[in-house]
């Protein structure tokens, strides 16, 4: 899948790799801003606290000199193309820094007519990995602090970008944590699976961070905010929470690119990406579909084949 897969693997990603990516992003961003290719660039700036970063929209070459790429650059910036940054797109082309997992969202959004390829200048990151949620912000990245999603990353080396920053050396021998956890849950007796999710969903406070950071939750009126009729209870009680997370997973089925932002931002540590991954696995098995590998005209749930599996139908 990765034409230029880097076979050199290591047990620690050194700060020098991130510095190199940072430098490449800065140079490219300055150039495209200077020559007028783009009206702005969505990238990362350092945060106040050491070892943190945050998204930023920059519009001048001077600001572009401050862009960074560090293990703290966890955000999927494509969320800004459909939500708060919608306006920027109208002023012209926009540059966006995107990791491989973020690019899957971009492809999905193109397929859903939310963005156009020609409106974007994609500065892709050949990505070695980023911090996990609440991981220790040491300067180098190891198995101990790399994000769960990065353990099973298949898109280290993104394709189809306008520019690729850096050359990643992947960590070797990472345990596929999510796959193992998914297999563990699948193997549980049905009642224990229910208990597992019930415990997690009950903790949910409905802060909607999962929805708000999701590049695909771009509806102007979320079904779950509607009260006439009320399909999902608004109140943060176990009943409504369970319904919300089921509906969310269903709405993302066949669309989610696996950036796992929902799970990262959950203040209650609900393993939401497991749901997304489970759906992705099902759709891969049933319809041989993987979301976001390329802009697709139709997702797996808005197309069909006459001989689709119907073994579950009497």
């Amino acid at each position: 899948m990765n034409a230029k897969a880097n076979k050199n693997q290591s047990s620690c990603i050194e700060p020098s790799y991130y510095q190199a990516v940072t430098q490449a992003i800065r140079t490219q961003a300055v150039q495209v801003l200077k020559d007028g290719t783009v009206a702005g660039v969505v990238g990362y700036l350092p945060g106040r606290r050491k070892g943190t970063a945050r998204p930023a929209l920059i519009t001048t070459p001077e600001e572009a000199e401050k862009l960074i790429f560090s293990p703290a650059c966890v955000n999927n910036l494509s969320v800004y193309l459909t939500k708060s940054k919608k306006g920027v797109l109208k002023q012209g082309r926009i540059g966006i820094v995107a990791k491989g997992c973020d690019m899957r969202a971009l492809a999905g959004l193109m397929g859903e007519s939310q963005i156009k390829r020609e409106d974007l200048f994609i500065i892709a990151v050949d990505c070695a990995g980023v911090y996990g949620s609440r991981a220790e912000r040491s300067e180098s990245v190891t198995e101990a602090n790399i994000a769960r999603k990065c353990h099973e990353c298949t898109v280290h080396h993104p394709e189809g970008a306008d520019f690729v920053a850096g050359a990643a050396t992947e960590l070797s021998g990472l345990t596929p944590l999510e796959a193992e956890e998914m297999a563990r849950i699948e193997a549980l007796p049905q009642a224990e699976r229910w208990a597992f999710w019930k415990e997690h969903f009950s903790r949910c406070i409905r802060c909607m961070a999962c929805r708000q950071v999701c590049p695909f939750c771009y509806c102007e009126q979320c079904l779950c905010d509607k009260n006439r009729p009320q399909a999902v209870e608004n109140s943060p009680r176990p009943a409504g929470n369970t319904a919300w997370h089921i509906v969310r997973a269903m709405h993302l089925a066949g669309r989610c690119g696996g950036c796992a932002e929902c799970e990262r931002v959950c203040p209650m540590d609900i393993p939401l990406n497991l749901l997304n991954r489970r759906m992705a696995k099902e759709l891969k098995e049933l319809y041989d579909y993987e979301a976001g590998l390329a802009p697709a005209e139709k997702g797996p749930l808005n197309q069909y084949k006459e001989d689709d599996d119907q073994s579950f139908i009497k």
Partner: protein
């Protein structure tokens, strides 16, 4: 010499209180997170990390029924909540940034309307605060006028000592009563050497100056600059010890159901959505501005207090790294 309680006796105290049919709430591990939760035994108390949600839910639950209704024999019957049945509650192990929050919130819940749901829970609760030894670079309690050893809001305040026990200070009558009722668990201190308090990451802020700046800058380029990356979730508000907005929803059918009060957040796009469809806070930076304004100006205007305890939860949790301490520093540094 002040009174002390050993860690073991603190746990024993919890066991005793549970036996007395009191609800004891304290930090407890739940999967990977620590949350304030009812403790079944003293052994469940976890004191090594700040709970992910603040302690406000003890008085201001995430969601509570405020009445229920049912059609019986063709007539709608409304059933109120029997608040006299709220249990006696002891909150144990709240750091100053959490213990201080009810003291701030009392004002708004007993202002033009006495929120008996909140107030009854307050009346029935005793807060055992604990001085904080575990700050990180997101903490800024000192910047907003509190400190790792502030006993504001606590009925009984514990200060960790180097020998592992806690110095006790009865701040209120409630606190004194708690000590008196279980006197045998408390002893005399051998030494009063307090463990080192938590370090803070920010300088002290001039809250008066900040408020003054806010008064003159309802419209300011700063708002767009700091909040244009806000994605409009409610995680900052929901885990905040001071945010107290709520929504009321009727849930159920035309036959029976409940009226529920639950947390709401000014960051949500629908928060100020009018029935007409008009939304005065139509873009995210206006919503984020409200968060800052409410905390550092409006609440002070009305109640003379700052609506922030500097716990740093929002700094840690913000999905996009918006840092309120940094914003306050920026405003603090402004000259105009």
């Amino acid at each position: 010499m002040p009174q002390i309680i050993t860690e073991q006796n603190l746990r024993n105290l919890i066991d005793l209180l549970v036996k007395e049919s009191k609800v004891v709430v304290g930090p407890k591990q739940a999967d990977s997170v620590v949350l304030y939760q009812p403790l079944a035994a003293g052994s469940e108390l976890t004191l090594d990390s700040l709970p992910r949600r603040s302690a406000k839910e003890l008085f201001f639950p995430i969601c509570e029924n405020i009445l229920s209704y049912q059609r019986l024999d063709g007539k709608m019957q409304v059933t109120d909540v029997d608040r006299s049945r709220f249990p006696e509650t002891v909150l144990i192990g709240a750091p100053p940034c959490d213990a201080a929050s009810p003291a701030i919130l009392d004002a708004v819940f007993s202002w033009d309307y006495n929120d008996e749901f909140y107030l009854e829970r307050r009346r029935k609760s005793t807060i055992v605060g604990i001085a904080c030894t575990q700050g990180d670079d997101a903490c800024f309690c000192t910047a907003v006028g509190l400190a790792p050893d502030t006993d504001t809001g606590s009925d009984l305040f514990l200060t960790p000592l180097k020998d592992g026990s806690y110095a006790c200070k009865a701040v209120t009558e409630k606190g004194k009563a708690l000590v008196d009722a279980h006197a045998r668990l408390f002893g005399e201190a051998a030494s009063a050497d307090a463990a080192p308090f938590a370090e803070q990451g920010t300088e002290k802020l001039d809250l008066v100056k900040i408020k003054k700046w806010l008064e003159g800058h309802f419209e300011d380029p700063l708002w767009e600059k700091i909040s244009d990356i806000c994605v409009g979730c409610g995680s900052c508000a929901f885990i905040c010890p001071a945010c107290h907005c709520f929504d009321i929803n009727d849930e159920g059918s035309t036959e029976q159901g409940s009226r529920r009060k639950h947390w709401d957040a000014c960051g949500f796009s629908k928060f100020t959505n009018h029935a007409s469809g008009h939304n005065p806070r139509d873009v995210q930076n206006k919503r984020y501005r409200n968060r800052i304004m409410h905390k550092f100006k409006y609440y002070d205007d009305k109640f003379g207090r700052t609506l922030c305890t500097g716990c740093g939860r929002c700094v840690r949790a913000c999905p996009v790294g918006i840092d309120i301490a940094e914003i306050l520093s920026t405003i603090n540094a402004k000259q105009d």
